[in-house]
Amino acid sequence: MSVLVDEDTRVVVQGITGGEGKFHTEQMIEYGTNVVAGAVPGRGGQEVAGVPVYDTVAGAARAEDANAAVVFVPPAFAGDALFEALDAPVDLVVAITEGIPTQDMSRVYRQLQDTDTHLVGPNCPGLITPGVAKLGILPGNIFEAGNVGLVSRSGTLTYQVVDNLTERGLGQSTAIGIGGDPIIGTDFIDALSLFEDDPDTDAIVMCGEIGGEDEEDAAAYIDDNVDTPVVGFIAGRTAPPGKRMGHAGAIVSSSGTGTAESKINALEAAGVPVGDTPNEVADHVEDLF
């Protein structure tokens, strides 16, 4: 078992003819993902990585029975691509694109509330159910199937934590990179609730970072609704206020909200142990079993 992605996931890749779209489509197929179509306006009828390309997402979904979309469309066109995916419709949209204007995302987010689709990202590495399928750009070889669910705002930090887990034989049920933008689809609470309902996820690792209040909200949610044990990590303890630390959303406001300290305190108050280092996160997970 797993969340969001399983054997029945049939993927259409938007932007499959671009450099990144093509490369990662090949990587996804190699990992075992069932990529059934690509969608690029004006390229219908072509084939990329052995996959048929359609002009529209709706056309691809209809012809190939696709139920998930992975979006590699450049930022200026990505907002529109996300609306197209929601309209197709598909059950899951994974937006890899970094740099989508915030106001475009605000409109997508608004539309998302009127649908049953799960959006993961944007500005994220995607998600993976080890041994089954990956949707996105995560390096499959560091993951191992198991019972730890992982949700994180950062890509490479996810890899680091997964590496520490896998090294000790702590495999993963599903790992979800929810993305580092200020406005994202699936947030910590959505992911925690999915993992809580998954009978094969026995522990959850949640990697947050500075900026916003999602981690604080998640801590309150864990306190009230999550019985599965959660281990936390927060990046950005040393970040100065008013500076954007790489991710558009990773900023401690000049008035001092969004700090690592506030997030760590909130998680600890909800009974979530927070590792000082990625390795300590693995220590805490190991202690649970």
């Binding site: 989508i100 890509g155 590496d163 040393t238």
Partner: protein, 381 residues
């Protein structure tokens, strides 16, 4: 990306928001001449991207030519919290009876724009928000419709703005919202919005921050960005296209991915060192970017040792290793010790390629950070 006050005021004035008479001056003579033309009293205001300019001595009210000369001479060239002032706005001093606040920003938690109005303008609004949240009226806006007229009126009346001026303030807020939406604002603010004895409202300050991700469709505003402003190294990072933040410590940090680089900074601190910078070289970095990153960190005179931490997903360890070798082979004497840790895609190949005469290699993140902290400490002593 932030506009200067004078640039934001031009944008606001073009949209029809009343602003005081003003002129930009780059020399003392220009400032005195402008002040004479506008008519005393005038305010002389430093144009730098720094909050709290008034308190720091960057804004002066003057009554005559002598005072204008003295103030302009003092402010031009002054250092305001690390930024050198190279221009001042000379502006008609508004005789006000009241100061309001109006602003539009994105509420990231809700994923929706929010308009804000307060009768407690003229002071730091974030302090007001912290002390007395009820003093700021807020209205979330549905981005599919934009701001309805009634929403502008509603938030103005709920803030307790005087009835005599409420419609004028609502109209200014509507215009501000339209600007924010059309010009891809991150934050748009008028603080203070001054109210005169005869019920005129006028934008005495202006803040307009653009969404950096939308510059591709805001070319005209992107072009007026003051590239020279700020820290030299941060300007250089801009040129190279790195996400870079300079800090005050002595351990230089290069890595890939925001979360992992932040974590590396945190670990430097955790093991008793002080991070000198945040530098994310991004995904898929090739040899040239690696060399540029090393050049950036070597140029920071505070740096005593460097930790280079890569966890490859799209980024390949062998390419990074080649880049590091090439960059360091150019030096007869490598300026600072570099400690490298590679993991993920092609990490093993990378480790074999790395020239260990030039760099120290560590197997784990923790070991690499500790080695860099130790190396930096040794240089320091």
């Amino acid at each position: 990306m932030r506009l200067h006050e004078y640039q934001a005021k031009e944008v606001f004035a073009d949209a029809g928001i009343p602003t005081p008479d003003a002129a930009l001056a780059r020399t003392v003579d220009e400032a005195v001449e402008a002040a004479g033309e506008i008519g005393y009293p005038v305010a002389i205001k430093a144009q730098v991207h720094v909050g709290g300019r008034g308190k720091a001595g960057g804004i002066k009210l003057v009554e005559n030519d002598d005072e204008a000369r003295e103030a302009a001479d003092e402010i031009l060239g002054m250092d305001l919290k690390g930024y050198t002032v190279d221009s001042v706005l000379v502006e008609e001093a508004v005789d006000f009876v009241n100061e309001l606040y109006v602003g539009v920003t994105m509420d990231r938690g809700e994923g929706q724009p929010v308009a804000m109005v307060s009768t407690r303008g003229g002071v730091n609004i974030e302090e007001v928000a912290a002390e007395d949240p009820d003093a700021i009226a807020r209205e979330h806006i549905d981005p599919a419709f934009g701001m309805h007229q009634y929403e502008a009126r509603k938030v103005v009346y709920e803030a307790g703005v005087d009835q005599d001026i409420a419609m004028d303030v609502a109209s200014i807020l509507s215009t501000l919202y339209e600007l924010w939406e059309e010009r891809d604002g991150a934050d748009a603010e008028i603080n203070p919005l001054m109210v005169t004895a005869d019920d005129e409202v006028i934008a005495a300050d202006a803040v307009f921050n653009l969404d950096g991700d939308a510059l591709f469709r805001q070319q005209d505003l992107a072009e007026i960005e003051d590239k020279a402003a700020g820290d030299d190294l941060e300007a250089k990072a801009n040129e190279y296209g790195f996400d870079y933040v300079r800090l005050s410590g002595n351990v230089g940090i290069i890595g890939n991915g925001a979360g992992l680089v932040m974590t590396t900074l945190d670990l430097v601190d955790y093991y008793g060192g002080k991070p000198a910078n945040f530098l994310d070289i991004g995904g898929g970095a090739k040899a040239e970017r690696v060399a540029n990153a090393l050049d950036m960190v070597f140029s920071d005179e505070n740096v005593d040792a460097v930790v280079f931490n890569i966890f490859g997903g799209i980024t390949r360890g062998d390419e990074v290793a080649n880049g590091i070798n090439q960059a360091l082979e150019q030096f007869n004497d490598i300026p600072k010790q570099v400690i490298v840790r590679l993991a993920g895609t092609n990490a093993e190949e990378g480790m074999e390629i790395l020239n260990t005469d030039l760099v120290q290699v560590e197997a784990t993140l923790e070991d690499a950070v500790q080695a860099a902290v130790t190396a930096a400490d040794e240089v320091e002593q």
